[in-house]
Symmetry: C2
Subunit: 212 residues, 2 copies
């Protein structure tokens, strides 16, 4: 029979949780933790507020779940980049492009991180799942830098974490500060031409720095 007509309810806990998380991600990333409304989330869900508390216990619990889910989504993307068989410079360019495109494609994630910083990363600190994450990037960068130096294509001995920060800063800022920056300089950072220019710009800058 028709499964949704005639409020024939189907229990589908996984789908329900996922649905809640999706809506909650949107809500929290546009309004922040304090600004996000549980009722607003519930309304846009195909289920009810009762379910939010049933599965996530509290508003903060939901927020934390949203945060973890967002981070977990990146891990998959970042992990399976095969950079070790590329020349150091090329490997770095690919890594930078990937970071750049990721931030550009996931403004929700960027905003959640911004929001976490406003809260002194209090929730992230409580979550072991999140902390173990991005560390792999550092190892990747460290490997590239070492190879580059020994091949004498990079002349500068740089700290991998510093390099990661330089890349992150640029890619992240473009998205996180899109609105204030756009408002001050009347520039739309999401235009295709601008995106292209910035993508090569950050790569050139980082590689130039390592070659100086």
């Amino acid at each position: 029979m028709a499964s949704k007509a005639e409020n024939g309810r189907k229990n589908d806990p996984q789908r329900t949780q996922e649905n809640i998380l999706e809506v909650a991600t949107e809500e929290f990333s546009t309004h922040g933790l304090a600004g996000g409304r549980v009722d607003a989330i519930a309304e846009r869900t195909r289920t009810s507020k009762r379910m939010i508390y049933y599965y996530f216990g509290s508003k903060e619990g939901l927020y934390l779940a949203v945060l973890e889910r967002s981070y977990r989504k990146i891990r998959t993307l970042e992990a399976d980049l095969q950079l070790s068989n590329l020349e150091p410079e090329e490997a770095l360019r690919v890594l930078i492009s990937t970071t750049f495109d990721h931030d550009e494609a996931h403004p929700d994630f960027v905003r959640l991180v911004s929001i976490e910083n406003i809260h002194h990363a209090a929730h992230m600190l409580r979550s072991e799942a999140i902390r173990d994450l991005n560390v792999s990037v550092i190892e990747t960068i460290a490997g590239i830098l070492e190879r580059g130096v020994s091949q004498r294509v990079f002349t500068r001995q740089a700290d991998p974490i510093d390099i990661h920060m330089m890349i992150s800063a640029f890619c992240f800022f473009r998205v996180s500060n899109r609105y204030t920056f756009g408002s001050i300089f009347r520039r739309d950072l999401s235009e295709a031409a601008t995106i292209e220019r910035h993508r090569t710009m950050i790569a050139d800058a980082v590689i130039g720095y390592l070659k100086a």
Copy 2:
């Protein structure tokens, strides 16, 4: 006679407003607009909640006043840098150092800007005072770049706004993402040695980029 003993109230509107703004800056920058509590602000003020509404009309009005005040404070610092009599490269280094030190010294400001971005810069857009501001930096940078190119110390033709973004991104990110970054990589970005290293790093990167 004693002026403050025996609740001898003195009318001092300017002081009252300034006091409110100071406390409100703290509150909003640590909790966000939605998370900031008017009652909490009132309590830490030497006056009452009534006065907040008397002078600023609403919570949003107060927030906007806080934002404008923060921006106004920078204008003074930024304006009186005499860079035109310095060599292009040196001028750029001074400008970068200034930006770097400013962000490092004013985390409140950085956080307010982050918060504004969460709100799509809605309040900034409404304030003419703020928009007219940072534009002067672009002219400064443009001048430096032109001189640098004509003196052949810079080989690359770069967009001043892009250069400004590159500088801002790095300086801003260090402060805005201090907590999540620190939480993931166990690195304290406010250590003196780290600050020193980063300050020269961003300058080297930008100048290297322009010379490439």
